[in-house]
């Protein structure tokens, strides 16, 4: 006997670890993502109800799969689903049973699911959100905030897309090699968005974030394996490896925020950085530069600090020039201004910043105000620095960043009082 609380924890852990895999397996066999989601949700609810009395099964994932499959059968009887759907479902059930009996290992259909979400018959703006929901198990509200749209609007788009997969007969499978490059952009964008989402929650305050970074890294590896000739797939994996290599150095022993150029390089994961560097070299061999390779190269230039004590700021500026040309993103323009400030002095950095100051997308963007404050301070403009620090402080929701900005603001205020 285990407690309800214990059963809940085990079920939740199983949900986190196996959600994408179980959903992809069920959906690829019944052709209906939405029905598979409902069945899986019911299976988790049943687990929480049954496990305290019956004990946690030896293979929780297999238990959940069988429960979800039974639920799909029931659903199909109750709603008098059409012959075609019934046939597909019963075939799915038989296959699942056979595979579980054989060795207890399920075929992993997540890559198929990932590429299905990027099908050209699915609206372009919902492809990445759909992957984040069905492959990574993030909820609509969380995805909506990552894409800056209302949760209800995001929910509607996701429901519509799932209905289209089922009703239009979009096959859940890995596309032919010929169709892969066209879908790759959306797949990479989704993995990147999910990784960024995990990155912005370093303390993993949301339980779903735990393991999310690891899962996105795993997906990145799987895509590189599936598309070994695609330099951008390698670029994205290199970028994620570089960023992830520094995750432990982002906070000090007391949990305080440490900016990139003050991080202790000894706390960076050297093996992961080496792997990223090797990938980037392999990607460069294809001679097709792209956004992710450029971003990974910027990360690489930052790690030069391991060898020579400082980042290669001039190289970083040159890379941002190219990245800005490719993406035209205000966030890239902001990072470029910071790099210019480091390479060529704060006045030139402020000059580059002035060029994007009118962009409304940056008005409530905390990193813009933090960067502006830092450049002003380095340029000796304490008053402007103070105003910008205050603005940045009001826009952050990360307690560690808030404490860091607060300390810097206090330092400016004290310096002026002297």
């Amino acid at each position: 006997m285990i407690s309800t609380r214990g059963a809940h924890d085990v079920a939740e852990r199983a949900a986190r670890e196996h959600y994408g895999k179980l959903l992809a397996y069920l959906a690829s066999r019944c052709g209906d993502v939405h029905a598979a989601e409902d069945a899986l949700a019911d299976a988790f609810a049943a687990a929480i109800e049954c496990w305290p009395a019956s004990g946690v099964p030896r293979a929780p994932a297999a238990w959940l799969l069988v429960a979800a499959r039974n639920r799909l059968f029931d659903d199909c009887r109750k709603r008098q689903r059409t012959e075609r759907v019934r046939e597909r479902l019963s075939a799915a059930g038989r296959t699942a049973e056979r595979e579980l009996e054989r060795d207890g290992v399920l075929e992993d259909e997540r890559l198929a699911m990932l590429f299905t979400c990027a099908h050209p018959a699915i609206a372009a703006d919902v492809r990445a959100p759909l992957m984040m929901q069905v492959v990574l198990g993030l909820d609509a509200a969380r995805i909506a905030s990552a894409f800056l749209i209302r949760p209800e609007a995001m929910s509607q788009r996701l429901v519509r897309a799932k209905r289209k997969i089922a009703d239009a007969g979009i096959p859940l499978r890995v596309p032919d090699v010929a169709d892969m490059p066209a879908r790759l952009d959306a797949v990479l964008a989704a993995i990147y968005a999910a990784f960024a989402d995990a990155w912005h929650d370093p303390a993993a305050s949301d339980p779903r974030t735990r393991g999310l970074a690891a899962e996105t890294l795993w997906l990145g590896r799987m895509v590189v394996e599936a598309c070994p000739e695609e330099p951008e797939a390698m670029g994205l994996l290199a970028l994620m490896l570089h960023a992830d290599a520094r995750k432990d150095a982002r906070r000090d022993a007391a949990g305080a925020y440490v900016p990139l150029d003050e991080q202790d390089v000894a706390r960076w994961n050297a093996a992961q950085i080496d792997e990223a560097e090797a990938l980037l070299r392999r990607a460069a061999g294809a001679r097709r530069i792209g956004r992710f390779q450029l971003e990974a190269a910027i990360q690489s230039a930052h790690t030069a600090r391991r060898r020579r004590g400082s980042a290669d700021w001039r190289a970083i500026v040159a890379l941002y020039d190219e990245l800005l040309r490719v993406t035209a993103s205000p966030v890239v323009a902001l990072n470029r201004a910071v790099a210019i400030g480091r390479a060529f002095g704060p006045p030139r950095g402020l000059g580059a910043l002035a060029a994007i100051a009118a962009d409304p997308r940056l008005e409530n963007y905390q990193p813009y105000w933090a960067a502006r404050a830092d450049l002003m301070l380095r340029a000796g403009k304490d008053l402007e620095a103070r105003t910008a620090f205050e603005r940045a402080l009001g826009l952050t929701n990360d307690p560690a960043v808030r404490a860091y900005l607060g300390a810097r603001l206090d330092a400016v205020a004290r310096a002026r009082a002297l």
């Binding site: 059409t82 012959e83 075609r84 099908h119 239009a168 007969g169 096959p171 596309p175």
Partner: protein, 120 residues
């Protein structure tokens, strides 16, 4: 799964077409239809008479039948024909739609047939 391919094209093109080109284009449709049949994908298919032959029928609130001449709305492309095909999935339907001569001169809309059969 059954899909209907709706062939939208500028029907005026056909009325001003030189005879040799007309033979070539209708020949392409015949070859495409044969290919569908040989692959076992063809359920049915037909070209339609031009929209000038269309008749619109509706019944109003008083139960009176209204019959109107002509197409419902003027559009740049008109529905000029259809195929009903039975293939595995949307990817197969897309592959057939792309081979249809209409995909090169106009557009082909793919619509899955709604399956409403209820098991006994």
């Amino acid at each position: 799964m059954e899909y209907v391919l709706l062939l939208h094209d500028d029907e005026k093109r056909w009325s001003v077409m030189p005879e040799e080109q007309f033979r070539r284009e209708t020949g392409a449709y015949a070859a495409y239809t044969d290919a569908l049949r040989e692959a076992g994908a063809l359920v049915s298919g037909n070209p339609l008479q031009p929209t000038a032959t269309a008749t619109i029928v509706s019944i109003d609130a008083d139960g009176k039948t209204n019959v109107l001449d002509g197409p419902y709305a003027e559009t740049k492309e008109q529905l000029g024909g259809y195929y009903v095909i039975d293939v595995a999935d949307l990817d197969a339907a897309i592959a057939w739609a792309a081979r249809c001569p209409c995909a090169a001169t106009g557009t082909v809309e793919i619509r899955p047939v709604a399956d409403l059969t209820i098991p006994a």
